[in-house]
Symmetry: C2
Subunit: 133 residues, 2 copies
DNA sequence: GTCGTTGCAAAGCGTTTGCAGCCTA
DNA sequence: TAGGCTGCAAACGCTTTGCAACGAC
């Protein structure tokens, strides 16, 4: 039996969350989304961020960026193939262009997807460190 | 002032955990380590596995394998450079050979390390699926 | 006997869920 | 007004920590 389309309501909280992600220049963690969205929607709660983000991923408006050792980050879906850089110092995650992975696999293994994560120090942090000396 | 070397005791639990990891052919999760080590050390607790694994990582006997969306796995340290394959069906993690990543980064970013994770179906699972039809 | 180690249970931490009240359509 | 949405707090799953008993040396 086909599930009927259910009306999705347009609320202040959802608008705030979408706006934050729309403007983001890098993938954001739920905590970053919450902090940014609270500026335009005071009182916004954690649960709402998680619930909204989850539904945005389901409708393919957002893409989940899972990073080893860090909470899942989120970025706008539909970008061209790319990978990520996670800064050891500030924990921010950046998008990086280009993908040159061509792994050879044992027989019988079938690849569905791949993730490449680079770790290091981002530009902002390496500049800050230099300046503080 | 140099910290004096503290005697590390050789216990049944630690021996069991090390033995499991020594014999493992792929990175194991804490849960897998616990289950396997309990066979030779009944009553072994979770906390002991985490504590032991942590100290083995500190002394570079073990390497942590962090995987997006899964608990950290552990493998013997000192292996040659390689990456990992995570099976969507059985959640097991495998080691894969060869690394062909040569990312180009924006100016000012410095890379310390990188991780490549492939997702898909492992050989055992694709064989099992075929057999069950 | 000393003191590092262990198991248990409680605490953490990020994420999810139950629920009563709220607010969009 | 209906019922999807929200904030709060409790519940989760995995990992860490506090603590008294244990056992290696």
């Amino acid at each position: 039996m086909p599930r009927l389309e259910v009306a999705a309501r347009d609320t202040r909280q959802k608008r705030a969350i979408r706006a934050v992600l729309e403007r983001a220049e890098r993938p954001l963690s739920p905590e970053e989304i919450l902090a940014a969205a609270q500026r335009s929607s005071a009182g916004l709660g954690t649960a709402t961020v998680y619930r909204t983000v989850k539904s945005l991923v389901e409708e393919s408006w957002l893409a989940a960026v899972e990073l080893p050792g860090r909470p899942t980050h989120y970025e706008r879906a539909g970008k061209s193939h790319h990978h990520h850089f996670a800064c050891d110092a500030c924990a921010r995650v950046y998008e990086i262009e280009g993908c040159t992975v061509t792994p050879s696999l044992p027989r019988g293994f079938r690849v569905r997807d791949h993730e490449v994560t680079l770790y290091g120090i981002c530009r902002a942090c390496s500049t800050a460190k230099r300046a503080s000396r």
